[in-house]
């Protein structure tokens, strides 16, 4: 786990990292001991590549473009960048990546982001507003529903605010725990579901019984009041609420080096 005791911790006044850095580092640490992960562009790709650069050099990165075992030397802007194909162990077709590798149960961890998330880690990446008359048409689900369904477990990366954390999704693109603890089994989803949600404020995990997301750690300098103010439902808190270990010098140096490989801001979520 990525947290230390809250006792006596106080964040320095000027931190050499920002909240996106903290999210990426926390996500990279969550990949310790993981062999194979399914990665999307943006924060997940940056985090997975940071994990390779720090303490999981053998992590197998799988992108839905069909590149298995990609070892990019610079951060890709798209899941189809030539760098991913050129450095992959093998490149397979799109039906194959979904049917054999993902649905076949070969992927341990999947990373997802979304525009909205509810308390059961269901995700919306489809529309804001009514589906037939949306105020904002978002790109859509893409690979996310099957990633969330079939990966051994899922890590969600999402900034925490009353815009992104919602009582009721405008559209359910991707199932986390549905309406509660029994829904994944009822829906025939083979993976265990979201095990960790990493926000810019802290870490949440599903309650073992109810599956409702529970704040288990706050990033340095963040109070539970901050997290509660950014959450429209009554946010549950774990008994031993921890403080996330801040990024260390090595993690930050590797992250800076990674981000420098991409012309534009590689942290775009």
């Amino acid at each position: 786990m990525t947290a230390t005791s809250a006792t006596g911790s106080a964040a320095p006044a000027a931190l050499p990292y920002d909240r996106d850095d903290m999210m990426i580092v926390a996500a990279a640490r969550a990949l310790r001991g993981v062999r194979v992960c399914f990665v999307g562009i943006g924060l997940p790709s940056t985090a997975a590549n940071l994990a390779r650069a720090t303490d999981n050099p053998d992590l197998v990165l799988v992108y839905e473009s069909g590149t298995i075992g990609a070892k990019p030397t610079r951060l890709p802007l798209s899941i189809g960048d030539g760098e991913l194909a050129d450095t992959a162990d093998t490149v397979v077709s799109v039906p194959e990546i979904f049917n054999y590798w993902l649905q076949g149960g070969r992927i341990e961890v999947g990373f997802l982001g979304a525009a909205q998330m509810d308390r059961f880690a269901n995700l919306n990446s489809t529309v804001v507003g009514d589906y037939d008359h949306p105020s904002v048409r978002l790109p859509g689900a893409g690979g996310a529903p099957e990633i969330a369904g079939s990966c051994g477990e899922v890590i969600v990366l999402i900034r925490q605010s009353r815009r992104t954390f919602v009582e009721t999704l405008d559209f359910r693109s991707t199932v986390g725990y549905g309406d509660g603890p029994d829904d994944r089994a009822r829906l025939g989803l083979t993976g265990r579901g979201p095990s960790l949600v990493i926000t810019d404020l802290g870490l949440l995990r599903p309650d073992p019984d109810t599956r409702e997301l529970t704040m288990v750690s706050l990033h340095p300098g963040v109070t539970f009041e901050d997290a509660r103010a950014a959450t429209p439902w009554e946010l549950k808190v774990a008994p031993g609420l921890e403080v996330t270990e801040p990024p260390n010098a090595h993690e930050l140096a590797e992250l800076r080096a990674l981000l420098a490989t991409q012309g534009q801001d590689g942290r775009r979520g």
Binding site: I41, G42, E64, S65, G66, T67, P76, L77, S78, I79, G80, D81, G82, L84, A85, D86, T90, V91, S93, V94, P95, F98, N99, L102, Q103, T126, Y131, P134, S135, V136, R137, L138, P139, G140, A141, G142, G143, A144, P145, E146, G149, S150, F171, R172, S173, T174, V175, G178, D183, L187, G188, L189, T190, G263, Q264, R268
Partner: protein, 275 residues
């Protein structure tokens, strides 16, 4: 026809793509047939049902120029950048006219092509259940496994009237070779009634590299050379993705007038492919 005709892109589009057709332009994040899409814009095709897993810039342009009646897709964004503004404008504001959408997951749409390529009425996957898409789509229904009794999602076979893809090479007989990320190209080709392949070049002899995919001439109707025809996407071995152009497209496509002016200058007056 028994073997593919080698034609100009204008000839091939004129012969194979008709108003009202269901047209798949595939190429998953690589080998995107942008030049062919722009030729369809130039020939002012209308009422098309356009199919792509990832609409990308090419569909943004076609939708913005009024080619589409309906779009079947999985993820409609500008990869790594944000929105497809012409796609959004059509859905959110009906500009230049309202479009119908049929939205799937990537796995679902890929399996629709695979079912059609396999000569089956549907494909089966674990998906859709519990999502807002289930119940909204005529092409997805629950099916019970006859062996285990499990409930699974059946997705209807998708047979495009025409599939258009881009590949690296063809030989003089019209046999096609592609490599790198080949996405759902093979399935989309074998699912279609008619097939157009644009290529970087015609060569005397195909020499498939490891992982290369060959489509024999007799499953292809037309081959047209379109060097650089995936720009700003790319063709492995020939070009690299112009990420900066994807960023520039965000600004060009935000504004209707700027978009139309860009199309007039870069598409209607000839080739959008840089010299």
């Amino acid at each position: 026809m028994v073997v593919a005709e080698i034609q100009s892109l204008a000839q091939a589009v004129s012969l194979l793509v008709h108003d009202g057709d269901c047209v798949a332009l595939e190429g998953f994040t690589h080998l995107i047939p942008v030049a062919a899409g722009q030729e369809i814009i130039r020939q002012r095709r209308r009422e098309l049902t356009l199919v792509r897993l990832t609409p990308d810039i090419v569909f943004d342009q076609m939708i913005g120029m009024g080619c589409a009646r309906k779009v079947i897709f999985g993820w409609g964004g500008n990869p790594g950048v944000g929105s497809l503004h012409r796609f959004r404008d059509a859905i959110e504001h009906g500009w230049p006219h309202p479009i119908e959408i049929e939205e799937h997951s990537h796995a679902g749409l890929a399996n629709r092509f695979a079912a059609a390529a396999s000569g089956l009425p549907f494909a089966v996957l674990r998906g859709y259940f519990g999502t807002g898409l289930m119940g909204r789509l005529d092409t997805v229904r629950p099916v019970t496994c006859p062996f285990t009794g499990e409930s699974l999602a059946a997705v209807a076979a998708l047979h495009p009237d025409v599939t258009i893809i881009h590949a690296q090479q063809a030989d003089r007989d019209g046999n096609v070779l592609m490599w790198g990320i080949t996405g759902v190209n093979k399935e989309a080709v074998l699912a279609a009634t008619r097939v157009l392949v644009t290529v970087e070049e015609i060569v005397d002899e195909l020499k498939p590299p490891a992982g290369g995919v060959v489509l024999p001439s007799w499953v292809v109707d037309s081959v047209a050379t379109a060097p650089g025809g995936t720009y700003p996407s790319y063709t492995a071995g020939y070009s690299v993705r112009d990420n900066a152009e994807y960023l520039r497209w965000d600004a060009i496509s935000r504004d209707r007038d700027a978009f139309v002016a860009w199309i007039e200058e870069h598409v209607m007056r000839g080739s959008a492919v840089p010299a």
